[in-house]
């Protein structure tokens, strides 16, 4: 051992301390960043030549990170459903407001009851007609809200797919850097952080599984197994629909040419925002639409008029309520979009030159359908019949996921119950997923995040090392000097 080799060792110590300080200052700089992981400078001792920086690594926890990814997906998926349900709930409102279809049906029935107590009163007739108009308008509005929610979901799907494509292409460039860097042995930890962040964003759009291979290369698959990224980013395609009417169903999302949404595919994803939005567009909103359509159909049928001739020949026709296919009745099965086209007949609408008294007398469908043949003012049979029809059980299409036989009012309140229950359970589920996400993010952050106090104490240590090495150099220097003085 010579003095000069000691000097070299001391100098290498100075250099590595400087590098360690630089890693430490990177840590300190990103202490407030929840996506940053702590970087560690690994040293290696070279025999006879002191120390040098071997590599920079970062703290990782794969299990916790995968937890974060999966809870991000499910929280985003449930969040999309809850959002849609909140919007659909506007059609019901608070129970106290009495604005739901069920409440408006009852108001119509009440108006008829009042009309029956004063059948000769035009004011009562008009109030019954306006109650009828209210329920028809409410159903139209409900139909609009549902279509809006579906169209919005479709547009959001388009946005999510665009975002996913962008994220995947960014992922591709970052991944390439990582593979290259790992092969050449340079510091890729910041790229790894970036890639993790991209994975989190991707998992919000679609549920994913990742596989890490040699050279830190990573492949991404959807939770159903379709490749999203493997060496290169795969194309996610989706054709937006301009506006979704009640009868139209939107297009599926394709990843790498394989459909990943819709009931028809076997590769259907089960979490992520894309899944949630597809659920809203193809299932939740459609079911609610069918329920509104069934209420509308029930109404039209309850107020239908039948031929009053001594020998009835004509078919039953739409009465107080009619629709785009009127005056024929909508039949006994689900008619998509009926809630959007139901309206009160022009024949009873004062604003359209109609006569509200036809509610009492019948004959909205034509002369053959007049119930009050003698034209007496106190005729209440037809009104009574209408009230009875409203409270009599009807058959409903089971496709709407409610009871197949119920009174109109019951059916409407069951529909409200269905929606509120969906909202409650989806809300509870979303809350749970959200909490899970917060918790796992927190645990991940605890493990991989940066602690300022720790960095500061490490800094003290580095300072001391630097001081000691400097002292060593000056001591060696004075030793060399005294040697040279002796020689001189």
């Amino acid at each position: 051992m010579s003095l000069s080799s000691s000097l070299n060792t001391a100098i290498s110590s100075l250099a590595t301390t400087a590098e360690q300080t630089s890693v430490l200052s990177r840590n300190v700089a990103r202490a407030g960043d929840s996506t940053a992981s702590r970087k560690i400078a690994n040293l290696t001792t070279i025999p006879g030549a002191g120390v040098r920086l071997a590599s920079v690594t970062r703290v990782v926890n794969v299990a916790l990170f995968n937890n974060v990814l999966s809870s991000t997906s499910s929280a985003a998926g449930h969040g999309a459903i809850v959002n849609a349900l909140e919007q659909l709930e506007r059609t019901i409102g608070d129970t106290e407001l009495d604005a739901s279809p069920a409440a408006l049906l009852q108001k119509l029935s009440n108006a008829l009851q009042q009309y029956s107590s004063a059948p000769d009163s035009l004011a009562h007739a008009q109030s019954a007609v306006s109650a009828a108009r209210d329920i028809a308008n409410a159903l139209n509005r409900g139909n609009d809200v549902v279509q809006q929610v579906r169209s919005q979901a479709d547009a959001d799907l388009g946005g999510a797919v665009d975002n996913l494509n962008t994220l995947l292409s960014r992922f591709e460039s970052v991944n390439t850097q990582i593979v290259k860097g790992t092969r050449s042995g340079s510091d890729v930890t910041d790229y790894l952080d970036q890639r993790d962040q991209l994975l989190k964003e991707i998992s919000a759009e679609v549920g994913i599984r990742t596989v890490t291979r040699g050279d830190n290369d990573m492949a991404i698959y959807t939770d159903s197994g379709v490749t999203l990224f493997d060496v290169a980013a795969r194309q996610i395609t989706f054709e937006r629909s301009p506006f979704l009417s009640a009868t139209a169903s939107g297009n599926a999302v394709y990843a790498d040419g394989v459909p990943i949404t819709g009931t028809a595919t076997t590769m259907r994803i089960s979490s992520g925002r894309i899944h949630g939005l597809a659920q809203v567009r193809d299932d939740v909103a459609v079911t609610y639409q069918s329920q509104l359509d069934e209420i509308a159909r029930g109404l039209i049928n309850a107020f239908a008029e039948s031929d009053q001739s001594p020998v009835p020949l004509l078919p039953d026709v739409a009465g107080l309520f009619t629709w785009s296919g009127g005056p024929a009745l909508p039949g006994n099965t689900l008619t998509p979009g009926l809630a959007g086209s139901i309206r009160i007949s022009a024949a009873v609408d004062h604003d359209q030159g109609g006569n509200a008294m036809l509610v009492r007398d019948g004959g909205i469908g034509g002369a053959a359908y007049v119930y009050n043949g003698t034209g007496v003012a106190g005729y209440t049979e037809r009104i009574g019949q209408l009230i009875d029809n409203m409270s009599a059980p009807q058959a409903f299409d089971p496709a709407a996921k409610l009871s197949s036989s119920a009174t109109l009012g019951n059916y409407a309140s069951t529909s409200a119950a269905w929606l509120e229950e969906a909202r409650r359970s989806a809300g509870a589920e979303a809350d749970y997923r959200e909490t899970l996400l917060t918790r796992s993010t927190e645990s991940l952050n605890k493990i991989t995040g940066i602690n300022l106090d720790e960095e500061m104490t490490l800094m003290l240590e580095l300072e001391r090392t630097f001081q000691a090495s400097s002292k060593l150099i000056s001591t060696i220097d004075s030793m060399l000097e005294s040697l040279l003085a002796a020689v001189r």
Partner: protein
Amino acid sequence: MKTTFISTNSISASTRQSMARVQQQLADALKEMDTSRYADVGKTLGYRAGHSISLRQEHARLTTMIETNAMVSSRMQSTQSTLQNLVDTGKDFVAQLLGSRGGGPNALSIQTEAKSRLEGFINTVNMAFGSGYLFAGVNSDVKPLSDYTATPSSASHQAVADAFFTQFGITQDDPAAANISAADMQTFLDTTFSALFEDPAWSSDWSSASSQNMRSRISSSELIETSTNANESAFRKLAKAYTMVADLGVSNLSQPTYEKLIDQALLDINTAIYELGTLQAGLGGAQKRVSDASERMTLQIDIIGKQVKSLEEVDPNEAAARISQLLTQMEVSYSLTSRIMALSILKYL
């Protein structure tokens, strides 16, 4: 190497998140205390929200039913008092008829009296209630009885004049009426005159009312008759008696014929008063049913109101307690945050 298991970022993030959660809960609790109902009824109740909506609808239905029952009741009340008025005036007329049975100058005065009573009778029966007529049956938009004394001469008036002329060959105010025998008069009253107050003459000349009474739904299952109509026998008899005395020229009749006529009028009026009583009793029964139904529904409404409350209501005291607890929690959280943030090694370096 990792030596610690907590990062600076997660310390501040966790306090921030818990604060946000507590603030959301506080907002809900404040709303619940104000309204005494759940902050988001639909979300809290879930499928039971449908039950709550049904109950509210049932509540609204019963309330409407009670309102319309009140309207029906007041119409029946009004009918009752009108019937009572007809009974009272009928009784007065009986007293007057008995008093003027002696004839002579009384005959002229009873004739005038009967005329005004006939008009009064028609006016009373034509009484309107709300938008319709009380005694028109289901034909509630037309006046039940035509005006007897109208000009030009009404169908009813003309029919009486024609019948009299056909029977006796003279008009009612002809002095020759004194020659009509009591027996002839009796025959006239029993046959031709009486027929004027029977169908078809009654419904073509006198009455536009329908014999079908108004029917009202007083509860979800009860549909009952809640009116009477001017075609009831009592009204015909009253009309007949008043017309008999008012328009058959009683002042010209001989004393026996006059007495015969007055006796017949007395008989008819007394029968009518009896029959009016029957009508009143029938209506009274209907009134009782309406008030019973309303009473029953009021009880149901109370129960439904309680059920809705038990579904949707939050105890405001409980909400208040929750608020103070949340406030304490927030205060603790704030002071902890500031103390944790103050804890930094930088202070000691």
